[in-house]
């Protein structure tokens, strides 16, 4: 009896196994991508595929090559770290072809400014924030702020934010130093819903008389009238414009 006789079953199975491994080897040689394993366990070509993706944001450096004025203004302003494409959107296409591709030019009051400057408690202390509905609600932001150099020429006061014309008129009148509240009793809600909460106006001649009557306890240079015989049929402001009273 031969000790090392290989049983018939094993030979047949071995043939099948060898055939299977051979198929695997052939398939593997044929279907593994060419660049696989060149730089690690991956297709080296995939890196080039990812790197070949198109660029949409051009980067500020390209923008200021043409828009040097804006770049100059921005470089010294609070917005110096704000890249052009933050507000103007992706502009690589515009940089390629500036005639037919126009980037965003946001002019309306809205998200472009407010997404950074609307008040939110997690925003860092000291970061300029406004409560939009209280801050000059009818004005576009760029009416007062130059987006490339956003420091406002002067900090607007509360009433003048909306009543700017009155404020400017008052500013050149004799009533210049009077606070609006001296005459108008405005509820706080007026700032949010101006038409529902109207500020009160004085209702009696005596109100003006408290400064302008002959008996009033007021500085001597203020013009005086005798309320008893001065236009007794009218209230004062029916004839005088209190924000710019004639001298």
């Amino acid at each position: 009896m031969k000790i090392w006789r290989i049983p018939d079953q094993v030979i047949r199975l071995a043939v099948v196994l060898v055939a299977a491994v051979a198929v695997l080897v052939v398939v593997r040689g044929r279907f593994v991508p060419a660049s696989f394993g060149e730089t690690g366990h991956y297709r080296a070509d995939a890196v080039d595929v990812v790197a070949a993706q198109p660029i949409r944001y051009a980067g500020s450096q390209i923008c200021v090559e043409c828009h040097d004025g804006e770049g100059e203004a921005k470089s010294g302003s609070f917005h110096r770290t704000v890249s052009c494409e933050v507000c103007h959107g992706p502009a690589a296409a515009h940089a390629e072809d500036f005639e037919s591709q126009t980037p965003l030019i946001p002019r309306e009051r809205g998200a472009e400014c407010l997404s950074c400057h609307e008040y939110l408690s997690p925003r860092p202390t000291g970061f300029p924030q406004i409560i939009e509905r209280l801050h000059n609600p009818l004005q576009p932001c760029i009416g007062c702020h130059d987006p490339h150099d956003p420091t406002p020429p002067e900090v607007p006061e509360s009433c003048s934010a909306c009543h700017a014309q009155i404020a400017r008129t008052k500013a050149v009148s004799h009533h210049l130093t009077l606070e609006c509240e001296t005459c108008h009793d405005a509820q706080a809600e007026h700032r949010e819903e101006p038409r529902s909460f109207l500020p009160r106006k004085p209702t009696a001649r005596e109100f003006c008389g408290s400064c302008h009557s002959e008996s009033a306890d007021s500085p001597a240079d203020i013009p005086r009238v005798d309320l008893r015989d001065h236009g007794e049929r009218y209230l004062c402001w029916q004839c005088h414009y209190p924000h710019h009273p004639e001298s």
Partner: protein, 261 residues
């Protein structure tokens, strides 16, 4: 921090890799013979001789983030990420910690449209925004689990996905501790932040860094002696997300709150 790590890290990692590969390879070698090993052998010989000049990382200054969401918008536009609010390569989270210690976190649509005013503003102990993105781990669990080598770490340290090779098993999505991966519904393949690989290889900044109005995101070279990122690393104490998992992220946060996970 990274400097110290570098010296210690590599022998240890190599040790782990070797010991892990040994039984696995041995098992497979018996089945497949040398044919399966060709690729790894080639890789080993190449990476030894060729060291990349770049090694990218990002720093995020939490106290500078204003939650404007411009980075999310720019990322989606730059990388053609699906617009639906279920797919993000980067997003911003808002943490509000109340006086009683309760933490509420939200990220409406990833913060792409900013954040609405939070209810109960008077009851806030502290609050802040945290931008999130792929941490480009030095020890990436997603790469470890990919069965076919469709996601990988390049020589410059960026973890990428080969969308022509990904089989869509989603094991990498399960393995990512940071929720940074998604399945692109158009290609049925995994996808994630690439550090804007197409931009950084051309010397540009990643789109999110380019548009961050407050400079909260800083991108640069971890190996360079002088780079804005190195400056940040020198001047601040840095944290990473979920350090206990030992993924060794290359996205570093300064002033990170302990509540952030």
């Amino acid at each position: 921090m990274a400097g110290q790590n570098d010296e210690r890290k590599f022998p240890r990692r190599e040790f782990l890799v070797r010991t892990l590969q040994l039984p696995c390879s041995a098992a497979v070698v018996t089945v497949l013979g040398p044919l399966a090993l060709g690729s790894d052998a080639a890789a080993a010989s190449q990476s030894g001789s060729e060291t990349s000049e770049h090694y990218f990382g990002m720093g995020i200054q939490v106290d500078k983030c204003i939650g404007c969401g411009k980075c999310v918008e720019a990322c989606k536009a730059e990388n053609d990420v699906p617009r639906e609010p279920y797919y993000f390569r980067t997003w911003v989270e808002r943490y509000v910690i109340h006086n009683d210690g309760d933490v509420s976190v939200d990220s409406p649509e990833g913060g792409i449209r900013g954040f609405p005013l939070h209810e109960g503003e008077s009851d806030v102990l502290r609050s802040f925004f945290v931008p999130k993105l792929c941490n480009q781990c030095d020890n990436p669990p997603c790469v470890q689990v990919c069965p076919v080598g469709a996601t990988f770490k390049t020589d410059d340290g960026v973890v990428l996905v080969d969308s022509d090779y990904c089989i869509g098993c989603r094991y990498c999505i399960q393995a990512c501790p940071y929720g940074a991966r998604y399945l692109d519904p158009r290609t049925n393949t995994a996808d994630k932040c690439t550090f804007c690989y197409h931009r950084i290889t051309q010397g540009l900044l990643p789109a999110c860094v380019e548009v961050c109005p407050t400079g909260a995101r800083i991108f640069g070279e971890l190996n360079a002696l002088a780079s804005p990122l190195r400056r940040l690393m020198r001047m601040s104490s840095l944290q990473v997300l979920k350090p206990a998992l030992n993924t060794e992220p290359k996205v570093f946060y300064s002033k990170l709150d302990g509540e952030v996970r």
